[in-house]
């Protein structure tokens, strides 16, 4: 038995990023199009409250809301928080206050940034007005921020049909989150062995099955696997598919064979690509061995060994 060595802690950056495409529906479409036209819309509930920003459904009654009104771009701070170190994506890159602002004519408050020289210049109850972004496209960031404002309301609230030329019906919301991924002990041990071109599984102390790749727990017994067992290099294709569509950001020419491969000595199949044989000649039971390339963390693919095919009965339990 080979006891598991203490692994080096592996880590790697993981970026989850996508430009989400969001359709708006009528109320949100009117509001964001309005911002593009320097017009702030709210929505009136059956109870007479004016909600800004306008939501589609009444928080109190769940009723659908469609009765748009125009409110002023001026308002009053209802609460605030001084943010001395703005983060990525926030409205201003210099220190600013987050503020909830009740616009004149509205009964609820809108969250945005308030540009002020410092926290001493901000207080609850202070008057502010919208500072419009120079380039507006129909999004909440068409309001660049709020700024201090001493005057009265510039608009009287009044009905608005919400109709604008060329309305915005959707937004693109790019979102990027940066993570540091750490695969943990068992996978780190597995990866360390792969660096020496060895495939090392782990045996469950309870059921004695050998897991490749090991994932830290024997999933049927719920206990840690620690005893390392080298498996392969030879193995048997238990089943496969022929991939004919090229996936984005996957640098593999199609068609190729994606196979489940039971390495000799392992109690379940791992997944790999089959090469060195025309794709339409790959078959269940094919005997294969890994092919490594310089610098590769994993075998690039598995190729036929030339041995006779394994009999179905020898691997059917691994399907």
């Amino acid at each position: 038995m080979t006891p598991a060595p203490a692994p080096e802690v592996l880590k790697a950056p993981l970026v989850v990023e996508f430009p989400f495409t969001r359709s708006l529906g009528p109320v949100q479409s009117a509001f964001l199009t309005g911002l593009r036209e320097r017009t702030v819309l709210g929505v009136r509930t059956a109870g007479g409250r004016v909600l800004v920003p306008p939501v589609e459904y009444d928080p109190d009654t769940a009723a659908e809301l469609r009765d748009l009104v125009e409110v002023a771009p001026t308002g009053t701070v209802t609460t605030w928080a001084w943010n001395p170190a703005p983060r990525r994506g926030q409205p201003l890159s210099t220190p600013f206050a987050w503020a909830l602002v009740r616009l004149d004519g509205a009964d609820t408050a809108l969250l945005h940034a308030l540009d002020a020289p410092g926290p001493d210049a901000v207080r609850t109850g202070m008057r502010v007005r919208v500072r419009w972004a120079e380039e507006r496209e129909g999004s909440i960031t068409d309001i660049a921020c709020f700024e201090p404002y001493d005057g009265p309301a510039t608009h009287e609230p009044g009905p608005h049909d919400g109709v604008f030329a060329d309305p915005v019906t959707g937004i693109v919301a790019p979102a990027r989150l940066d993570y540091t991924y750490a695969p943990g002990r068992a996978q780190s041990r597995y990866l360390a062995a792969l660096a020496g071109r060895k495939t090392v599984g782990e045996r469950c102390p309870s059921c004695r099955k050998v897991y490749v790749p090991p994932r830290g727990a024997c999933p049927t017994c719920g206990v840690a696997t620690e005893e390392q067992v080298e498996v392969g290099p030879g193995g048997t294709v238990t089943t496969f598919c022929i991939v004919n569509i090229k996936a984005r950001n996957l640098d593999i020419e199609v068609p190729y064979v994606y196979a489940h491969i039971a390495l000799d000595g392992a109690d379940l199949a791992l997944h790999g690509r089959i090469g060195g044989i025309p794709y339409d000649q790959v078959r269940m039971g094919l005997r294969v061995t890994p092919v490594w390339t310089e610098g590769g963390r994993y075998p690039d693919h598995y190729r036929p060994t030339g041995e006779p095919d394994a009999d179905y009965d020898t691997y059917k339990e691994l399907l």
Partner: protein, 353 residues
């Protein structure tokens, strides 16, 4: 209503990072701990329910790998909520109330260390009007704290006292991440993180896991010397928009507590999940907890706040106090969402000694 109790509670320590272990490697010892406490194997548990979040992990379907730690073979009756484990416990409690199960394993875990938690939590917000501004969770809590200060309900000194009390209470809690505090007055010398909040007003960011075992009736009595009977449990949600709510109040907490029977008799202990100090002020008022109630003897969120597990830990800590005989009637609370949007309250009792 069927008698259902928390009969075992376990947790990992909460630590700033746990990069050396995968989620299942962090979770599995905790599962062994609670199952060991009641002498059951996973296969002898009638229902399993867990809580976790893909957004913390940065990977879709992340909970499927954690199931490896349970030993779900032969197959088990199992469910998962994308919520704090307190709500997983709620789902399991309901399952036991139907009579279809006599025992349940509930677990939850969260690793905040892989990502930038305050930034990750911006993805919880209204995706059209708010999330594009990336307002971090500390800033939103600061808006709530300022509203509370403006209303004359607290001040920065009182908030520091909340933090200091929590961290000093956690001095004996080996699972806590931050223990012991400078005196409140000294805490006020620190700079603001997001005014009016300082670092001590915010929970430590950490990784952790927790698990409980639930059992009904005589099974509970057999598995635990003094079961923590769930006398009532309820949860409620508020509108999502911060500008629609009165941030100084928590009507959902109050309603959940009423429905859970919290006001029918006084409690002697309360475990509140108030990630930010100002939120404890709000919760205490809504729950009518006076100075006679022992509040967060575990230290609460100021001492450790592993996302997705922290609410379940409140229920577990309250139950453990009943198991030990340190309390007779306890209230446990969990929260989710920005500025206390969603709240759960449970009332637990031990039988007379």
């Amino acid at each position: 209503m069927r008698d259902v109790a928390i009969v075992a509670f376990g947790q990992s320590g909460t630590r700033r990072t746990s990069a050396e272990v995968s989620e299942v490697e962090m979770l599995m010892p905790v599962l062994h701990q609670v199952l060991g406490a009641v002498g059951l194997r996973a296969g002898e548990i009638d229902f399993t329910c867990s809580g976790s979040s893909d957004y913390l992990a940065g990977r879709a379907f992340s909970f499927t790998m954690a199931l490896d730690g349970v030993g779900a073979w032969p197959p088990i009756a199992e469910s998962h909520v994308e919520m704090d484990g307190a709500w997983a416990l709620y789902e399991a409690w309901v399952k036991l109330l139907t009579g279809e199960a006599d025992t349940a394993l509930v677990y939850s875990y969260g690793k905040s260390s892989p990502g930038d938690l305050p930034e990750v939590l911006t993805r919880q917000l209204d995706p059209y009007y708010v999330a594009p501004l990336w307002p971090d969770s500390v800033s939103l809590a600061a808006l709530q704290a300022q509203a509370l200060i403006d209303a004359g309900d607290t001040d920065e000194r009182a908030l520091a006292e909340v933090a200091a009390r929590g961290r000093n209470a956690a001095a004996d809690n080996r699972h806590a991440q931050v223990t012991r505090s400078a005196p409140p007055g000294a805490l006020l010398d620190a700079p603001y993180l997001v005014r009016p909040l300082r670092r001590h007003d915010c929970p430590p960011i950490g990784d952790g896991a927790a698990a409980v075992v639930l059992a009904a009736g005589d099974t509970a009595r057999r598995l635990c010397a003094r079961p923590a009977w769930i006398r009532g449990m309820d949860h409620r949600i508020e509108p999502h928009g911060l500008g629609v709510r009165d941030l100084t109040r928590s009507p959902s907490t109050r309603l959940a507590a009423t429905r859970a029977g919290a006001f029918e008799a006084p409690v002697d202990l309360a475990e509140l999940h108030a990630p930010f100090t100002s939120q404890e002020i709000i919760l205490r008022r809504e729950l009518e907890l006076d100075d006679g109630v022992r509040l967060n003897p575990s230290g609460g969120a100021p001492a450790a706040n592993p996302m997705m597990a922290a609410g379940l830990i409140r229920l577990g800590e309250a139950a453990a106090a009943l198991h030990r005989g340190d309390a007779d009637r306890a209230l446990a609370h969990a929260t989710s969402g920005p500025c206390l949007q969603q709240n759960l309250v449970a009332v637990l009792e031990g039988e007379a000694r």
